[in-house]
């Protein structure tokens, strides 16, 4: 009995494969479908080529920039270390190989940060600001094409696969020639799965081509899987619409309308709603907050500052002297460092609040995924590509730690090697080479996966739900 059942299953699968092959042949034979598929693949190919070319060009510009910045740092000559701290440096967020596929928020945030004494700077230099008016239509990326237009192709084809048979009256014949309705549905499902695979394959191939480390393979696999889940969910939704449809045209119109709402309206409305629900401070208010706290804080440059006076008394007591001139170290260097530490604490509080608001906004956006599951996919895609906001915040934290250490090194150098009040003292030229270059370490992919677990679960649940709905509707798939 078991053997017999296995034979029947094998036969069913083989029939389903034949149905799938037949559907694919038919689709490729039909002019409009073939045109749409080939057009999409051509545009995707162009986008991939453009993304690759852009990432190569940007890598060159970034390398030149880093080289120039390092050269300027090393070529300062003999200057006072605190002047060097004010001169500061620039650091760049590392670009992951998958950023070519999904640039994420890179164009909206900028990838360069200015580091200098006394201030933690926010990320600036947004490339988007120079992109011109066309940026309002969206920023081109290979994943965007798959997310938006790939889903449209899958949706429309799945609707027409099921509703079309009923509309043209071929369903009855097919049900007779196929062993049962389920084989027919399974075959069409396999054809849809092949289409989803075909649409995602170019992403995977370019990603694999760009990989630099084996650990990136997990990120690429996750990116591909997330897009497959998304397309499978779209296929399930389209199949459900097609299976229940009274007319092909009505089902297609509903599918297009739903796609339009999910891909274009809800993401923008969600962004605006998030901005309203968790408003960010203006730049002026943010800086004023830091400035007010700093005014009541430690000012290393102002001898009349109360906290500086208290610190001076403490240092004099520690060294057992009565005048700063008698100290074996330069008090100005110590005061600058105390100023830096106080300022870093103030910045940590204010930036912490700012970043908490950014996270609250992103949670609010994710909530709209219940209306448009695309909002579950996007955070996953950006997170595994290393281009989401969390990667920027991780970079900003590392850059701030580097800045703090850099300034401490310079203030220590001043304190140890010169005397109080000697602002003309200059550190030797070889001092600057002792400062190591900044190396940011992006968070591991596992952290990105853990952080986006809610989005993963929601995307998988939506995909499973739409496929279940389609499967249930398939039971009533009759002429």
């Amino acid at each position: 009995m078991r053997r017999h059942r296995a034979i029947v299953m094998a036969w069913d699968l083989s029939s389903a494969r034949r149905v799938a092959a037949h559907e694919l042949r038919l689709a490729l034979r039909e002019g409009p479908a073939r045109l749409a598929l080939l057009g999409f693949l051509a545009v995707l190919g162009l986008a991939l080529w453009s993304a690759r070319a852009r990432s190569v060009a940007e890598a060159r510009v970034r390398a030149e920039f880093a080289h120039e910045v390092r050269g300027e740092w090393l070529a300062q000559g003999a200057v006072n270390p605190h002047s060097a701290a004010h001169f500061g440096t620039f650091v760049q967020k590392p670009v992951t190989p998958l950023a070519a596929l999904d640039p994420g928020v890179d164009p909206c945030m900028g990838t360069t940060l200015r580091l200098e004494a006394h201030a933690q700077n926010d990320l600036a230099f947004r490339p988007m600001a120079d992109a011109g008016g066309a940026r309002h239509f969206g920023l081109l990326s290979p994943v965007l094409l798959v997310q938006v237009f790939g889903s449209l192709l899958v949706l429309l084809w799945s609707v027409s696969l099921f509703a079309g048979e009923r509309e043209t009256g071929t369903l009855a014949t097919l049900l007779v020639s196929a062993r049962d309705g389920r084989t027919l549905v399974l075959g069409k499902g396999l054809a849809l799965a092949a289409l989803c695979g075909l649409l995602v394959t170019p992403l995977f191939l370019l990603g694999a081509f760009a990989l630099e480390r084996s650990s990136d393979l997990l990120a690429l696999a996750s990116l591909t899987l997330a897009h497959l889940l998304w397309l499978a969910g779209c296929a399930g939704t389209g199949a459900w619409l097609g299976l229940r449809a009274g007319s092909l045209h009505g089902a297609l119109a509903r599918a297009v309308l739903g796609w339009l709402v999910c891909a274009f309206v809800v993401p923008r409305v969600a962004a605006e709603a998030a901005d309203t629900l968790a408003p960010l401070p203006s730049r002026a208010a943010f800086e004023l907050g830091i400035q007010r706290d700093s005014e009541n804080g430690f000012d290393g440059h102002d001898p009349r500052n109360e906290r500086r006076k208290a610190f001076e008394a403490e240092v004099l007591e520690r060294y057992g002297v009565t005048r700063t001139e008698d100290l074996p170290v330069n008090f100005d260097g110590l005061a600058m460092q105390a100023d830096e530490e106080y300022g870093a604490r103030i910045s940590a509080v204010h930036f912490g609040r700012l970043w908490a608001t950014l996270r609250a906004q992103e949670r609010a956006q994710l909530g709209f995924g219940l209306v448009s599951p695309l909002l579950f996919l996007r955070p996953i895609s950006m997170a595994v590509a290393g281009t989401d906001t969390e990667h920027f915040l991780a970079f900003a934290r590392q850059a701030e730690a580097y800045r703090f250490e850099l300034v401490r090194f310079l203030n220590d150098s001043m304190a140890r090697n010169s005397r109080t009040g000697d602002w003309d003292w200059k550190a030797p030229e070889d001092t600057w080479a002792l400062v190591a270059d900044f190396r940011a370490e992006p968070p591991p992919v596992s952290a990105a996966l853990a952080r986006t677990r809610v989005a993963w679960l929601a995307l998988a649940a939506w995909c499973a739900g739409s496929l279940t709905l389609a499967t249930r509707a398939a039971r009533r798939y009759r002429p």
Partner: protein, 479 residues
């Protein structure tokens, strides 16, 4: 239009009424969201001006202290001190109609520091990059990207539905010219959607208290461009109908056309702009400014003789104190000299990008309409350039006063500060009709192309189906 009965038919047979209600809601939502953005920007500007007002309070406090015969903490008469402490801010005023198109208002700050370009720091508003990435839900987006779908979904089966239901022959027999009936139907759709969108905007503006008489030309322009957009897409549907294909194929072709014109071309134009007219990255300019600033400070003594010669003071002998007062001016001169080539190159690159972007408006009606709406709203690149020019003019005025006072060794007065600080806001520019010329020409060219296609594209002769052809009387005629 001569057939009001068609309107009732449309209302009965298509979801025209529902679409009109939905459109009105979307227009109101987009306008309200635009108002929210403008309120946020106005608040940010007020906060920045208030914060700067606090920073500038030392001027009045100083003069008051001097009048009382007291020693001020910071002497407002000192031009050297004023040059780095009395930096005013300038806020950009936008017309009330700016709520219809936000333009770069989401990335550019509403206020800028009035200072020499060579010293200009990067000022960017605090924004969530994930929110920026999604794009804005404003009326420009609604009209350029969503409104076409109302025309597509309502207009893609004007004739196809008649053909598919077998009423086409009856319509032809009854009216004699069925295309006139279709034109009337398209006309009614146009009038309904156009009237709804315009009315909804007027009502929302009235509700928000933003409909001033001065805004009427902009409102009229908005209505005209919205009508032209609808006319273009409904015209495209009529041209597609001339091919006498099925409603499904019409829908597919219209979707592809929309994807091409509202998505593909704008994105491709961005790529073209990036490739053909790249603008130097902001981070690179910031790096040059930092390096130039330090180099000029080191070489300030070299520029001092040139500065004196420029003001007819060549050969003047300066004591150390006077030299110290004038060195900052020499530094500023050196900095300008240092950065001028890079800034000029950046200006040239931006101008080239704007020229190319202007030409690319002809590539897509959606791009043309979007740009027209930005210009009507007073938030396009033209207004940004005008604001930059005003900033530079103010900066030059401020520098002239400070330089004159420093070189003449003259104390600053309250009247000087009136010039240095100036009015904190720049009034919104009136609507410049010449700015609308290019988008109008571009949209006009697309409408003309459509008209020519409609006139010249021969309607496909309705071919009978294959089965009908097999049994045509001609073939069964006895020989």
């Amino acid at each position: 239009m001569r057939r009001p009965g068609e309107c009732f038919l449309l209302l009965r047979e298509t979801p025209l009424g529902g679409a009109a209600v939905l459109l009105a809601l979307l227009v109101a939502l987009a306008a309200w969201n635009g108002e929210r953005w403008q309120a946020t920007r106005a608040r940010a500007a007020s906060e920045a001006l208030a914060a700067n007002g606090e920073r500038l309070a030392f001027i009045e406090q100083g003069f008051t202290a001097l009048e009382r015969g007291e020693e001020p903490r910071l002497d407002p008469r000192d031009p050297g001190m004023a040059s780095w402490r009395a930096v005013p801010l300038l806020a950009e005023q936008v017309p009330a109609f700016a709520l219809t198109a936000l333009g770069d208002g989401d990335v550019e700050p509403p206020v800028r520091r009035v200072e020499d370009r060579s010293e200009a720091s990067v000022e960017e508003e605090v924004r969530n990059p994930a929110v920026l990435l999604a794009g804005r839900f404003d009326l420009a987006f609604l009209v350029a990207m969503l409104l076409p779908w109302f025309a597509i979904l309502l207009g893609h089966r004007l004739a196809a539905a008649e053909r598919e239901s077998g009423r086409w022959a009856m319509l032809a027999a009854a009216s004699g010219a069925p295309w006139r009936v279709l034109l009337a139907r398209a006309g009614w759709i146009l009038v309904t959607l156009w009237g709804t969108a315009s009315l909804a905007l007027v009502v929302t503006l009235l509700a928000l208290g933003r409909l001033a008489p001065a805004e009427l030309p902009r409102l009229v322009g908005w209505c005209l461009f919205t009508g032209a957009t609808l006319a273009f897409w409904l015209g495209a549907m009529l041209v597609l109908e001339r091919l006498e294909r099925s409603a499904i194929l019409n829908l597919a072709a219209a979707s592809a056309l929309w994807a091409l014109l509202s998505f593909g071309v704008p994105m491709a134009s961005q790529e073209l702009l990036l490739g053909l007219a790249p603008v130097p990255p902001r981070a690179e300019l910031a790096r040059l400014a930092r390096a130039g600033s330090y180099a000029s400070w080191e070489r300030r003594a070299e520029f001092l003789p040139e500065l004196l010669a420029r003001h007819g003071l060549a050969g003047t002998t300066l004591d150390d104190e006077r030299r110290g007062e004038l060195e900052p001016l020499a530094y500023a001169l050196g900095l300008r000299r240092e950065l001028e080539p890079a800034l000029a190159a950046a200006d040239e690159a931006r101008a080239e990008r704007d020229r190319l972007a202007g030409r690319l408006l002809f590539a897509s009606p959606s791009l043309a309409v979007h740009e027209a709406l930005l210009r009507l709203a007073g938030t396009s690149g033209l207004e940004r350039s005008a604001f930059q020019d005003e900033l530079q003019r103010r900066s030059r005025e401020r520098e002239a006063v400070l330089e004159g006072a420093l070189l003449a060794d003259r104390a600053l007065t309250r009247a000087d500060y009136a010039t240095i600080l100036g009015a904190p806001r720049v009034e919104a520019r009136p609507l410049a009709l010449h700015g609308l010329l290019r988008p109008t020409l571009a949209l006009g060219a697309w409408l003309a192309l459509l008209f020519l296609l409609g006139l010249c594209w021969p309607a496909r002769r309705a071919e009978p189906s294959r089965s009908a052809r097999s049994f045509s009387p001609a073939e069964v005629r006895p020989t």
